[in-house]
Amino acid sequence: METNETVTSMQLKLPADLEQIRLVGTCISLMLTDVCSIAEAEVTIYNVQLAVQEICVNIVTHAYEGIFNGQIQVILTLTKQPSTLIIELYDTGQPFELEAVPLPNLDEIGEHGYGLFLARELLDEVHYETRQSGNYWRLRKHL
């Protein structure tokens, strides 16, 4: 971890595996707990962990569906003025059609489509783009 007065950043590269992606949440918790004081810290940290978990699960189960030995590169960046956490995710799986994902009908109880919905509700930005090198997600949470 590199720290200066304005930015803390952390990078990790993980196997695209539902068990291994838990490490991202652990890193988010360490970063936010140690570096800054946040209002309603427990709920805020939980919400960011959940949102990032949803995107990581999406990468594992959709982008890398049928593909073994996939990896997810994660860069966490915490800026202090303004206090913001940026989570960047890179993978080399199949491209994703973000706008094609329907919102869940909240008036009916369903079993699908809640992951992206939660990420969008809990974060201030959910950006996705397909790059020549693979898929890129940028998630942002103002703290």
Binding site: L18, E54, G115, L118
Partner: protein, 112 residues
């Protein structure tokens, strides 16, 4: 995630402990597929759950549907605050009966 099962009369209480996510959800899903039978009175005690994601939520919803198909129900109790907030955000709190503690959930089944 640890799953402990306690059966009292016609009610089964499932105690979940730890992280209930996409990696752990198949454990509960497998149990539900094999063990939910009429009268299907299930209580999910979430007091010691530290994390729930949407895959885990979907597993609980599938369990709820199965219980209701058998004229039973799946009640939730002891939701930690961050988990309760996610239930409210997804509006799943409208579909489930959620109790403050296990004794209230048990009493509700006894009153059915």
């Amino acid at each position: 995630m640890a799953l402990t099962i306690a059966e009292t009369g016609t009610t089964i209480v499932l105690y979940l402990e730890g992280r209930f996510d996409a990696h752990a959800a198949p454990q509960l899903n497998d149990w539900m597929k094999s063990n939910i039978v009429a009268p299907a009175h299930i209580i999910l005690n979430m007091a010691n759950v530290t994390f729930v994601d949407s895959t885990a939520l979907a597993t609980i919803v599938a369990g709820l549907k199965r219980c209701r198909q058998l004229d039973g129900d799946l009640y939730l109790c002891n939701l930690p605050d961050p988990v309760r907030i996610i239930f409210e955000l997804t509006r799943f709190n409208r579909a489930f009966l959620i109790f403050v503690d296990e004794s209230d959930a048990r009493a509700a089944f006894e009153a059915r």
